[in-house]
Subunit: 168 residues, 2 copies
């Protein structure tokens, strides 16, 4: 399940990249600087679009890293343009491509912690179910909502991406 | 994993119920009819708050129903107040409580379809990963975003709910 969900995260990151393309085209058509998107928010005290995209990427990166015990590459979180956000997605996808199903064999029982938890720990299984998956979807849906609420032509199918139907 | 995710869905439905309480209190403090929330949207051509909450409930209900082959109760989708939406959540939780882990033994290989797919089918495993989980999180995050963007005091912890930390 862990490795399968990683594949699902990769599909969603590919979809997110397409929304960024659509956001850039929208800016071009409306003649505004596409970098405006990076500071756009749903609420004045919520993270802006750039931070939502960074959080999607980091959640995917850290889910893989923490559940396998492998060190994750650092990111500076200094993206200033849509192109730089797309490069962040590409580098996240390249990192996720380095994992195999076998890397996750001990995932469920691994002890996971992070600075914000002040020494507290979750099992890998609980971290995955209660923290990693909800956070990934929270940030990618919020990124989608920022574009959607501002007129970019994205819909539910763009959110889900292609589905695997059975051969008939 | 299927049954564990159902438990996670239940936790999120409990959190959603708390946001509805907060939305009702917000309306009372600001002296507007709390039923206004049900028609509130992020975009004029996206489903309103009421439909997002119904979709969260239906996705949880249908995930359990389809993956176990049990018939799901019908819903009229005619909720007109916050209290009625809260009752919808309560009835969904009561339905989810009728399932046990054993009910999901054949889930991965079950053939899943729905009217919108025009005869196409997904395996239970793919339906769960590619459709059920993303849809559940899409709609609950959108419901959250509608309240959050309109000033209701909910934050990321309210989204995640309590986490299962290890005993130290």
């Amino acid at each position: 399940m862990y490795f399968q969900m990683l594949g699902q995260f990769k599909k969603h990151l590919g979809q997110l990249d397409k929304w960024l393309e659509a956001a850039a085209r929208f800016a071009e058509a409306k003649k505004f600087d596409s970098a405006v998107w990076l500071g756009t928010r749903l609420a004045p005290d919520q993270f802006p679009f750039s931070r939502q995209v960074q959080a999607v990427c980091d959640t995917a990166k850290l889910t893989a890293s923490r559940l396998t015990g492998k060190e994750a590459p650092k990111n500076e979180d200094n993206e200033k343009t849509i192109e730089e956000l797309r490069a962040r997605i590409a580098s996240t996808l390249a990192y996720l491509d380095t994992f195999s199903a076998a890397d996750f064999e001990q995932a469920a029982k691994r002890e996971i912690t992070q600075p914000r938890w002040e020494g507290k720990k979750m099992t890998g299984a609980n971290y995955f179910l209660e923290h990693a998956v909800p956070n990934f979807y929270f940030h990618i849906t919020t990124a989608y909502a920022i574009l959607r609420s501002n007129g970019v032509d994205v819909g539910k199918r763009d959110f889900l991406g292609p589905l695997t139907f059975e051969a008939t």
